[in-house]
């Protein structure tokens, strides 16, 4: 066993990479759930984003176009969820699970010819001056653009929910859709937009796995990241900065346990592999036990205007 082989600078840098897909998906789902919709199809939208992003990235040679296509594709997929649950009033839980199954199957079909290929990936941007700071510079300020984008997105969502009028209306719709309707807000339209935003974020998260983290395509490569994102949303009490915390915690433990495996620590691999899931959930359970759950009161309930 050689713990000195673990380099803390690399560890932090790679935990940020490791956490980005989950964070993107979770912040998107936060908006969806704040609008009162429970979309359990995050996993399916992520894997769809992963395959579409990879296919477009490899055919155009531009990973940025891959990300864009992934966001659009997953948003379109999420529209099907929105149409079923908002207009046909289907059950949100069942429809979301169905969406995951559809996404997994569809992605396997699209991705079959691309297995084993390697795509170009995003180049890191070294932020001038900041990245020259010893240790911290390489740790925090020499990442690819999506890592920065995901952090900015968390801040933007936080500010949107807390300070903007549109964010207030979105929260109101998720809190009491009948009252929001009575005040004249378009519940269905607002929810549809939220669902599409969530879809696009999930797509970006999925594409980040296939274009940056791995970067290649294998069937089922999201491996439950969508489910972890869903869990993080709940345990983070629907608060954006706690989602960042939860995602980085999960990413950190994931990277750490891989390093420990490589260093040959005398803990069975199975325990190390389950540790990110366990630790993340335990920590977030404690945080959410501090009170102020903040679950949107209309979460998961179908809305039908009956005037």
């Amino acid at each position: 066993m050689d713990l000195s082989s673990i380099n803390p600078v690399l560890l932090i840098a790679s935990l940020m990479v490791s956490a980005t897909p989950i964070m993107l998906a979770a912040i998107g789902e936060t908006i969806v759930e704040k609008a009162g919709v429970l979309n359990l199809g995050v996993e399916g939208m992520m894997i769809t984003g992963a395959v579409v992003g990879f296919v477009v990235g490899i055919n155009t040679g531009s990973p940025m176009l891959g990300f864009l296509a992934a966001a659009v594709a997953s948003a379109i997929l999420s529209i099907s969820f929105g149409f079923l649950t908002l207009y046909l009033l289907s059950n949100q839980v069942a429809t979301g699970l169905g969406l995951t199954l559809v996404g997994l199957g569809l992605s396997a079909l699209i991705g079959k010819p691309y297995e084993g290929m390697k795509s170009t990936t995003l180049d890191p941007i070294e932020i001038p001056i900041l990245s020259d700071i010893p240790i911290v510079g390489k740790m925090l300020f020499a990442h690819d653009p999506m890592v920065y984008f995901s952090i900015i997105l968390v801040g933007a969502v936080w500010a949107f929910l807390k300070y903007s009028r549109a964010g207030l209306v979105l929260r109101a719709v998720g809190e009491n859709h009948n009252a929001a309707h009575a005040l004249g807000y378009k519940v269905v339209r607002i929810r549809m937009l939220a669902i599409m935003f969530g879809g696009a974020c999930s797509g970006l998260g999925g594409a980040y796995i296939s274009l940056v983290r791995v970067p290649q395509w294998t069937e089922g490569m999201t491996a439950g990241a969508g489910w972890i994102a869903l869990a993080i949303v709940v345990f983070a009490s629907w608060k954006p900065w706690r989602i960042l915390l939860g995602a980085y915690l999960f990413g950190g433990v994931t990277v750490l346990q891989l390093n420990l495996q490589a260093a040959g620590v005398a803990i069975p691999v199975e325990y190390l592999s389950m540790s990110p899931y366990l630790i993340t959930i335990i920590v977030l359970v404690f945080i959410s036990a501090l009170g102020n759950q903040g679950a949107p009161a209309s979460l998961g309930r179908s809305f039908h205007a009956s005037t």
């Binding site: 207030l168 109101a172 809190e175 004249g184």
Partner: protein, 505 residues
């Protein structure tokens, strides 16, 4: 009230199967408090929804200050100076007062400016309110203030209030009336919907009465008696409940030194309550809401248990028995909250009937339900209590409040209870139906059942109860014969001054 603010002409709105409003016309003047009266289902709600832009009329038109007025959505109505306070408050529990108010405004100022405005308006109208409090923790009266202030900040010309006092304590009603009179003095008009005829007589300048969707009369409520108004609503004279002399039997239910800590921080603890009810007797229990009414019903129905000897039924200590066992003995109850407590909103009337009547009406055999019999029982209740519903299969939650109330009370009355405990039996029920429910309770007493009526409607208690007591902070006053009591004495009892009366007991 010189000129006309809003004129309605020939408004008609039909839904499949029913005509909600037919050719309704009336005027609301500037600075006028106009009452809209009618039974449950007379079309009051549909009418105000048309004014507020939630529903489009089929035919007919409205003019506001002489110009045609046809709001396509609430936003348009608000822009024209119409504001509405809903019966079931349209508030968001997780948001704070200022956020809730901002949601109801077209162009809200910044949160900090808005908070200042809220404080200013709430003080000038005598409606104290902290803009930073979360709405979920407010009382019903405070929640209503949020709605009213939300309306007032828009500077409306017409304020619509849909049954504003049904959830308020008498003190809160006083505050509300003061505010409304102040608004009237400022020249604002108010359209006031209520069942409570005495309130309308005290507050309103004019009243329009609707029956089955049609306007039957416009009158000055102060010049008509409550009874005349009620008869115009119903369309015929109805019988006031008749209290016939009854022979009182032995003591059926006795409560001895009953103390019970409140179940949660919002409840009231019961403190050494003593009283007894005889067969054939109606005991009325009054008091301001939140003084232990819910808790008293719970310990009598068995939802909360107490020490065994604290509740004695027919000589047997039953304080530790749960609701099912008490029901088997013949102690039935009708709680105040219709949706979620007395009835499950998403289940049909048949299923709801089955839930309390399964044992006493033997609606199940060997663990299997007898649906046919359950439906017949539900239909019997529907017929006997004139519950207006398409069928017994209709979900309880889709009935109007008054109709559901008739059903949940009827369901217990039809099971021939030996003791019946009801809380607010006629809450939100129109005058004729309320009279029918009270008559049913009296008939039950004539059949030697012991009845305990907990209510905030003093007139109701005076009308039907033989003895009266008041709850105050979880303590029950001495029960006294109702016929000997004056209103002043009742007021003193409700205020908790029961020590002053070294009474006849």
């Amino acid at each position: 009230m010189s000129s006309v603010l809003l004129r309605l002409e020939g408004l008609t709105k039909a839904y499949p199967g029913v005509i909600a409003n037919q050719d309704v016309s009336f005027d609301i003047g500037h600075g006028e408090v106009h009452a809209l009266l009618g039974e449950n289902g007379a079309g009051k709600s549909t009418l105000v929804k048309m004014i507020y832009g939630l529903v489009k009329p089929d035919t007919g038109q409205m003019t506001l200050n002489g110009t045609p007025f046809a709001p396509v959505e609430p936003r348009a109505a608000r822009a024209s100076g119409i504001a509405m306070v809903f019966q079931h408050f349209s508030l968001f529990d997780a948001l704070n007062v200022a956020e809730n108010i901002a949601l109801g405004m077209e162009n809200p100022p910044k949160q900090s400016d808005l908070a200042r405005q809220i404080t200013k308006v709430s003080q000038s109208y005598g409606l104290p309110l902290d803009p930073h409090k979360t709405v979920g923790g407010l009382s019903a009266g405070e929640r209503q203030r949020v709605e009213i202030i939300r309306c007032l900040l828009q500077n409306p010309q017409l304020l619509i209030m849909d049954e504003p006092t049904s959830v308020l304590t008498p003190q809160e009603v006083d505050i509300l009336f003061k505010t409304l009179r102040k608004l009237k003095a400022e020249g604002k008009s108010i359209l006031y919907i209520s069942h409570k005829l005495e309130e309308i007589r005290a507050l309103c300048d004019t009243a329009t009465i609707l029956r089955l969707g049609k306007k039957v009369a416009t009158c000055e409520p102060a010049k008509a008696s409550a009874r005349e108004l009620a008869e115009m609503m119903v369309g015929s004279s109805f019988k006031a409940p008749e209290k016939t002399p009854r022979d009182l039997g032995k003591v059926l239910l006795e409560v001895k030194d009953l103390s019970k800590a409140a179940a949660d921080a919002f409840g009231t603890s019961l403190k050494s309550i003593n009283f007894s009810v005889r067969a054939g007797e109606v005991v009325g229990i009054g008091g301001v809401a939140g003084n232990g009414q819910d808790e008293l019903l719970s310990v009598l129905s068995g939802e909360m248990t107490s020490k065994s000897s604290a509740v004695v039924f027919d000589g047997k200590a039953i304080g530790t028995l749960g609701p099912t066992k008490r029901r088997a003995l013949g102690i039935l109850s009708g709680p105040e909250e219709r949706l979620g407590h007395a009835a499950a909103p998403n289940m049909s009337l048949t299923e709801n009937a089955l839930m309390t009547a399964v044992d006493r009406q033997s609606l199940a055999k060997n663990g299997f339900l007898n649906w046919g019999k359950a439906q017949r029982f539900a239909e019997k209740v529907i017929d006997a209590f004139d519950v207006r519903t398409p069928s017994a299969q209709t979900p309880a939650g889709s009935l109007s409040g008054g109709n559901l109330q008739k059903f949940v009370i009827g369901r217990e009355v039809m099971q021939a209870p030996r003791v019946l405990v009801v809380n607010q039996p006629t809450w939100g029920v129109d005058a004729a139906a309320a009279a029918a429910i009270r008559q049913a309770l009296l008939d039950l007493a004539n059949e030697q059942a012991a009845i305990i009526v907990i209510s905030q409607d003093l007139d109701e208690l005076i009308e039907i109860s033989d003895r009266f007591g008041a709850l105050n902070e979880g303590r029950l006053s001495q029960l006294r014969p109702t016929q000997d009591l004056s209103v002043e004495e009742i007021g003193l009892m409700m205020g908790g001054a029961h020590d002053l009366e070294v009474s006849d007991a």
